[in-house]
Symmetry: C2
Subunit: 199 residues, 2 copies
């Protein structure tokens, strides 16, 4: 391998993996690790919500009230571990996460949040109207009948996490090949180099 | 829920999930998050190698030369995220990891390491004789023919990670139920309490 390129060379590998594993619903799920206040790691399954338009940034929808939002304020670094169960490929993608909630001052980011909202199913959207995730469940209260008009825009609890990849460690367990892609910034432009390493 | 018990109440849920997903090879894979030297999270797929005998500690085989060993020396905390693709159950298991390598002074721990070695396939064992994982691949060298006698005990690079669970966050996406199991130590004995929380 070698050489420096501006287009993310791992993105095509990931797009191919998504395509070849598309018959499994869970192929769009990956594990997102962050660091908590206590300095300990946190890890949970989230859903891939596509790349940000025309780039390699990864979008995730989440609830503003979930613990990871607090954790990311404290430490914005994250590592995705994405294992494709059919093609036996693993992508470890680390980078920095930006949180876009309804209070974002940038109109383009608010538009991006709105786009993610309308791209998700009505069922997914309903979750953001539910009780505070992680708090004790109050069984006394019967679940309220929630009605959500599909034309209504993002509710307050809805936010989008955008991970900007810095390094990608790709492992193919069928071919036993492992590649590391590393980004650098040259004159403000993100460039990628790659190297084959021992699996 | 409620009450305090000494047997880990989440263990049966996990054993059941393993059983109901056993037809998938990947059901024994989970993602292990640790914290690196730079304070950033790391996340990778590893294989479940069973519970430590008669307890709830989780065993993982790994290569002493892999980066996570250095990371765990610096910060012994980890969180497993284990998603079962067929039953739609997620276990987030956090705790402290002990590393058992060949230099361990405790004969019982060396015996545990030996047991894990012989319980793994010959193919798995061969990996520990390969070149240093994560280092640049030297394509010039043809891969050496490695012969490993199946009666030979653990090689130097083989070590066992033992995760001692402190808290388990269980989520069932089919029933939309979420339970948190928390351990405390009462007179030196680990006890568990559980609580239902909002998913």
């Amino acid at each position: 391998m070698g050489g420096t390129v501006t287009a993310a060379p791992w993105k095509q590998l990931l797009v191919d993996a998504l395509e070849s594993n598309a018959h499994f619903k869970h192929s769009s799920f990956f594990q997102l690790a962050t660091v908590g206040y206590n300095g300990r790691p946190s890890n949970r399954t989230v859903v891939f919500r596509g790349f940000e338009e025309d780039c390699d940034k990864i979008q995730i929808n989440t609830d503003c009230r979930s613990r990871k939002i607090e954790e990311l304020k404290h430490c914005p670094f994250a590592e995705i571990c994405w294992y494709f169960t059919d093609s036996w490929e693993q992508f470890r993608i680390n980078g920095t996460i930006e949180t876009i909630d309804g209070s974002n001052p940038d109109p383009r980011k608010l538009q991006q949040r709105e786009k993610c909202w309308f791209a998700s199913s009505l069922n997914s959207r309903l979750q953001y109207l539910g009780p505070n995730p992680g708090l004790p469940r109050l069984n006394e209260e019967p679940p309220k009948e929630v009605i959500l008009d599909r034309s209504i825009g993002p509710v307050g609890a809805f936010c989008v996490l955008v991970l900007d990849p810095e390094q990608v460690d790709y492992l193919n367990l069928k071919s036993n090949q492992r590649l590391v892609f590393t980004s650098t910034h040259v004159n403000g432009v993100k460039c990628w180099t790659s190297e084959e390493i021992n699996p």
